[in-house]
Symmetry: C2
Subunit: 305 residues, 2 copies
């Protein structure tokens, strides 16, 4: 059966901007529950500066605490050389690194030109590969930049080609601000697929405008099978009222089930994992399909909730 | 510019099951505001039995009150001969009528066989056309039936062909319980398009699982340009907690804008119309994109809300 390969990002991209500091034990419990649900690729931590991202200050402990999870590929974000040093020092099995596709975003975010940011990422990727660990390389703001507006597919293709050339196993195209519509997804993939086979491309969507599932479907139609998703849709900026987070894992799994694609994920167990995350953050969580999934799950189990 | 032709259904499908009885003046205000937003096809009322659907008891007054709206095609639902008599008696300009695609739904809902329900609808359609008014004929539960499960495309095609043969100008395929995924939409349209040109097909989606926009995009990709939508996503069963309603007009308009398709709808004016509906129902309304649309609208207008 044709299958989707999901990378669960709730423990990292989901949690990193949440105002409630989640204790290490809570994160490890969440990761364990996500693994139990059948998620075999989990982005678990970030080696960002603990001052800049206090939620991720326990990255070393998370990597140590997840080492014994059977059959799970754990990765962590390393945005620069210092982050990579920490990742390597504690034996992180896989890293992710990110470059934004526009001058404006790189200047505002890390005070670098696009070229300097790309060269720095190439160095991180090269060093990680030398150390024998796999790399997922992200192209951020691949559709629209908050400072420059719509992004030309050619700019994304150039960056993806450089990441692939240096040896990143997977290049992930990220709609960082959730601005893409399915037509843009199809257009970008038409531009990218001649340079990079579908097996090396992942997609990372945010669901800001409610187009996440439509975008995922457009990517599936183009042959993409690797997707990031965040259990409960956790992510985004919790301070912006009504801001939606990452594309929810449960929504993607439901889309896959409806599309005849396997994911290996058990939805009832995933809903329980989302509830663990909800208790950690002190608020109800769930993607677009969650109200229906909860009703349907409750009916199936005879649970009257 | 290629365009989508939207039929706004909030005043009928949206309101009909709402527990708050909306006064006739409130409905007419909502319809006027929807027309101001640029919606030129509005399903305004239903000639259902006032006992069965008290919210629609004022159908004659709604038809009378909307007669002077410039450039707006007003339609009303007439499910049977008695409804049609009422529609014709008060000069309704256009009707919609509905048959469910399955035996189970027809038996449970109107205690008829599928064949008898179809024949009854053919009589309604025939009489309406003789009276010189246009008909939109709906195929309900076209993807999944709550009593029979998944529906074969062939069953939908047979019904659509009969509606088209008797002269219904538009056949609308309705995902009544919001169960379709985009792959099913594509498959059904592949089966239907050899029998009926895209210009005579409309799609009516509910957003129960958050797949509404993905389904609309799949239909657009198949060449469909006629869509029902409900301002604010009003609709569905308000008693089921978390049940989502109809596909929201604002979501479809945003998809169209992102897809280079015109709709004639002005989003800020539509948001104001949704707020009118929200005041009538006493609760905040809005489709999946609404939180983002409100922020974006507030920023553009300098409105600090």
């Amino acid at each position: 059966m044709d299958r989707l390969l999901l990378t669960e990002v709730a423990p990292r991209d989901g949690l990193q901007n949440q105002p409630t500091l989640v204790p290490t034990a809570g994160k490890l419990e969440l990761i364990r529950r996500l693994a139990e649900a059948g998620l075999t690729r989990i982005e678990a931590a970030s080696f960002a500066s603990p001052k800049a991202v206090p939620q991720m200050a326990d990255a070393e402990e998370i990597v140590a605490g997840t080492r014994s999870l059977p059959g799970v590929e754990v990765s962590a974000l390393a945005m620069n050389g210092r982050g990579l040093d920490r990742a390597l020092a504690c034996g992180t099995p896989q890293i992710a690194t990110v470059v934004a596709a526009t001058e404006g975003m790189n200047r505002r975010n890390i005070n670098m030109t696009l070229e300097r940011a790309t060269a720095a990422a190439e160095e991180v990727i090269g060093r990680a590969l030398e150390a024998g660990i796999a790399v997922r390389a992200y192209v951020a703001v691949a559709f629209e930049c908050p400072f420059e507006g719509p992004v030309e597919p050619a700019a994304v293709v150039r960056l993806a080609e450089r990441f692939a050339a240096i040896g990143a196993g997977e290049v992930v195209i990220a709609d960082t601000i959730g601005a893409a519509a399915p037509g843009q997804v199809s257009a970008l993939l038409r531009a990218l697929l001649p340079s990079l086979p579908a097996e090396r491309i992942g997609m990372h969507f945010h669901d800001t405008r409610g187009f996440g599932i439509a975008n995922a479907h457009a990517a599936i139609e183009a042959g993409i099978r690797r997707f990031d998703a965040s259990a409960g849709g956790i992510g985004g900026c919790p301070f912006a009222p009504g801001a939606a987070g990452n594309l929810a894992t449960e929504d993607v799994v439901l889309l896959a089930e409806k599309s005849g694609l396997a994911t290996g994920v058990d939805l009832p167990t995933l809903i329980d994992a989302v509830d663990v995350a909800g208790r950690l953050l002190g608020r109800p969580l769930g993607g677009r399909a969650m109200p229906w999934l909860r009703r349907s799950h409750a009916q199936a189990s005879g649970d009257p909730r």
